[in-house]
């Protein structure tokens, strides 16, 4: 893309092309390229070749799971009923997706409009994370076609999983609505966007409720297995708090991570507003993440003290636990604090990546690695399970990139003048933009149509 833009390609960022004619859907889908140009840029991208290799092996095996059954595709273990699909796919993707509700809350409830340039990315990150957690779940369920059963056929209301199912389903629709504003802009349906903007507050508040509950509920699922989860990863009273609190820095750091990657690999797709504000916003997010991590480490230690589990630290499991909490939480906390104070962005971002790693490791530890610590054997996932997990993750990346390339997530959709007043009046009063100097400067720099 970079080369094509150098050669004079205009990036699709408004309903009209350079000559003033309305862009067709096809034109928007192909990023304003001709089909052959589009294929050319796709072939030039080395990531596509890696993805193609993963799909070449992964997709047939993923399909094979539905043809030959779970025993063929996974370990099919009775002792480890939840393997990689849930241990990684569900339990790790969901906390990394808490970004949606956090940035939604910050911007819409607390009025932190300075964070708006990244709000949509955070919302999208949340939506996709949840959506693919459900995809992993569908791959794992014995009878995925019965997924709606807890909603319509048979209710088990005392079960934590019942709550998770309902809340994830509801929250997914909330997130679809939240992200749909970007889609309505892109597709050219301002009425839909206005409709969603009107219920934004309601959506955001229900997002907070649902997130608090099901992030916690995922932890509470493990309180059913007090004898199986290792005591260092288990706390009857605080399990849901541990999961909920660690999801907060997890989601924020995921947004830092994704925005870092996006700023590096798709600079052409970002606008001046995003580029100018990214460092400042990253610092804000990192501050939030630091508070989250500090709280998490504290309640984790309180959890250990509450049940007096210190002696477990002096064991192989204890060392593994300390590796997780030091490399995944304490070191990133130090790095990000240092980075924020000295404005060394590379260090902040390194800390964010390590936090993401720490949260994922924590979930995988709880669900798989230290699960059944009393049993003599450990479960090593068979290769097909690994390949399917990788393939679903690769689909996640492709979908993520597909949307970022097109929808106004990292940039602002420019509107024709006669449409502008209507939409602008609803969501961004001019007075506010004037009072926030940085975005205005960048916005007026790059808008030529206005």
């Amino acid at each position: 893309m970079k080369k094509m833009i150098q050669h004079g390609l205009a990036v699709v960022d408004s309903p009209y092309n350079e000559s003033g004619a309305k862009r067709t859907i096809m034109d928007k889908l192909l990023l304003g390229l001709t089909p052959s140009q589009y294929l050319l840029q796709a072939f030039r991208n080395p990531l596509n070749w890696i993805l193609a290799a993963i799909f070449a092996i992964g997709i047939p095996i993923l399909l094979g799971r539905f043809v030959f059954g779970l025993a063929w595709a996974t370990s099919g273990s009775n002792d480890y009923p939840w393997g990689l699909f849930l241990g990684f796919g569900l339990f790790a993707m969901v906390p990394l997706s808490s970004s949606g509700f956090q940035l939604g809350t910050a911007c819409e409830i607390f009025g932190r409009h300075d964070l708006e340039p990244i709000e949509r990315l955070a919302l999208l990150n949340g939506l996709l994370g949840y959506f693919f957690a459900v995809v992993y779940l569908l791959a794992d369920l014995g009878q995925p076609w019965r997924l709606p059963y807890p909603m319509v056929v048979s209710f088990g209301p005392a079960a934590v999983l019942f709550l998770v199912a309902w809340h994830v389903a509801t929250y997914l629709s909330v997130q679809v609505a939240e992200v749909s504003t970007a889609f309505f802009e892109w597709i050219g349906f301002p009425a839909g966007k206005r409709g969603v903007r009107r219920i934004t507050l309601g959506l955001t508040v229900s997002g907070i409720i649902l997130s608090t509950l099901h992030q916690g509920a995922l932890g509470a699922l493990f309180t059913y297995a007090p004898g199986k989860v290792h005591p260092l990863w288990y706390s009857s009273s605080f399990q849901w708090l541990h999961f909920f609190v660690s999801s907060l820095p997890g989601g924020l750091c995921m947004v830092i991570g994704v925005s870092t990657i996006a700023a590096k690999t798709m600079t052409w797709r970002t606008d001046g507003r995003f580029q100018k504000n990214l460092d400042r916003i990253t610092v804000s997010l990192a501050k939030g993440a630091c508070m989250g991590i500090a709280t998490y480490i504290t309640i984790k230690l309180i959890g250990i003290a509450h049940d007096n589990k210190w002696s477990y630290l002096d064991s192989g499991w204890g060392q593994w636990f300390m590796l997780e909490i030091i490399m995944g939480f304490m070191v990133p906390l130090t790095l990000m604090t240092y980075g924020v104070h000295t404005r060394k962005m590379a260090i902040v971002r390194l800390g964010a990546f390590m936090t993401v790693f720490g949260v994922v490791l924590n979930r995988v530890n709880t669900a798989i690695i230290t699960f059944n610590w009393k049993l003599p054997h450990r479960e090593i996932p068979p290769w097909r399970e690994v390949v399917i997990s990788l393939a679903i993750f690769a689909i996640y990346i492709v979908v993520y990139r597909f949307i970022l390339y097109r929808l106004p997530i990292l940039y602002r959709w420019r509107l024709q003048e006669q449409e502008a007043p209507v939409t602008e009046a609803v969501h961004a009063p001019a007075a506010r933009r004037e009072s926030a100097p940085v975005p205005v400067a960048s916005y007026s720099n790059m808008t030529e149509l206005d």
Partner: protein, 302 residues
């Protein structure tokens, strides 16, 4: 305009509560089992490891042919667990000890307050008044949460099946026998009378009577009388239970008591959060005109 938003938020919150009212905590006090519940007392000092109970179970429940015949004693070399193809297995312990080996029959213990039942989000499990924990395979989605929850590692999953995999486990022969008052197939076939079928309350008395009459033969404990709120299957043993494969660290509270902390918090969040956050929004709205937030001293909020 904003008041309308607030009302809307309340409405949405209220709807969520209405939806969520089914998420009620399992707030009842401890449940000690149905008074007429049946059970089985296993006297491990009598078991000779003939595996005829395994064979009888296989036949009664129409399970697939086992990998090796029920006369094959090499299976005692490993520690087996119940699976979708074998609802009960017999394991040998203390093989090289003077008093050994000690055999232990493993199957669903039919808890008074089953963890599988409380963890199931489609309510597939039922604890019948006869004491059996049965399940409805027609609604099983295959999340396998019950297998995570079961403290005894009992439910097995039918991973081999492509179109209709479900959780499978011992149902105390509920459909074919227990319902009509007959003992389970394994009890009926046992040549050593190691298994005794009867009312759970009576079996507890029988067990303690045996310990009293033969104190040198048994350790003074009936496994399953109190463990995890009590189970329908009760065990007597000649030696410490943890030496013959029992988990003695499970405590006497049913599994669900670990989850109550969280379940009790749910309605609070559902009812407090909408007002709390809408309120904060209204408060922070006030300075929206003149907000010149300095990023240096504002914190990321959550």
């Amino acid at each position: 305009m904003k008041r309308r938003n607030f009302l809307k938020a309340c409405l949405i919150g209220g709807t969520t509560i209405a939806l969520g009212k089914t998420n009620k905590g399992w707030a009842a006090g401890s449940f000690e089992g149905y008074p007429e519940a049946m059970g089985v007392l296993v006297d491990t000092t009598r078991c000779i490891g003939c595996r005829s109970c395994e064979a009888a179970c296989n036949k009664e429940q129409n399970l697939p042919e086992p990998d090796t015949s029920f006369n094959d004693n090499s299976v005692f070399q490993e520690d087996r667990r119940p699976t979708a193809k074998a609802y009960t297995v017999v394991n040998a312990y203390q093989k090289n000890q003077p008093g050994g080996p000690v055999y232990r029959k493993v199957q669903c213990n039919h808890c008074n307050e089953p963890a599988c039942l409380t963890s199931c989000f489609v309510n597939a499990y039922t604890k019948t008044k006869e004491g059996a924990v049965i399940y409805n395979p027609d609604v099983c989605v295959g999340c396998r949460n019950c297998m995570i929850a079961c403290p005894f590692n009992v439910p097995g999953y039918d991973y081999e099946s492509v179109t209709n995999p479900v959780v499978k486990k011992c149902i105390l022969c509920y459909d074919t026998r227990l319902k009509v008052g007959k003992p389970p197939a394994c009890v009926e076939i046992c040549p050593q009378e190691a298994l005794t079928f009867g009312h759970r309350a009576d079996l507890i008395k029988v067990a303690h009577e045996r310990i009293r009459a033969n104190p040198e033969r048994y350790v003074d404990h009936v496994y399953g009388e109190k463990e995890l709120g009590g189970t329908s299957w009760l065990y007597l043993a000649p030696t410490d239970f943890d030496k013959i494969g029992f988990d003695t660290t499970l405590g006497n509270d049913p599994i669900i008591s670990n989850v109550k902390d969280f379940l009790g918090m749910v309605p609070m969040v559902l009812s407090i959060w909408p007002a709390l956050f809408s309120g904060i929004h209204l408060l922070s709205k006030h300075d929206a005109e003149g907000h010149g937030h300095d990023t240096e001293n504002t914190e990321e909020d959550r």
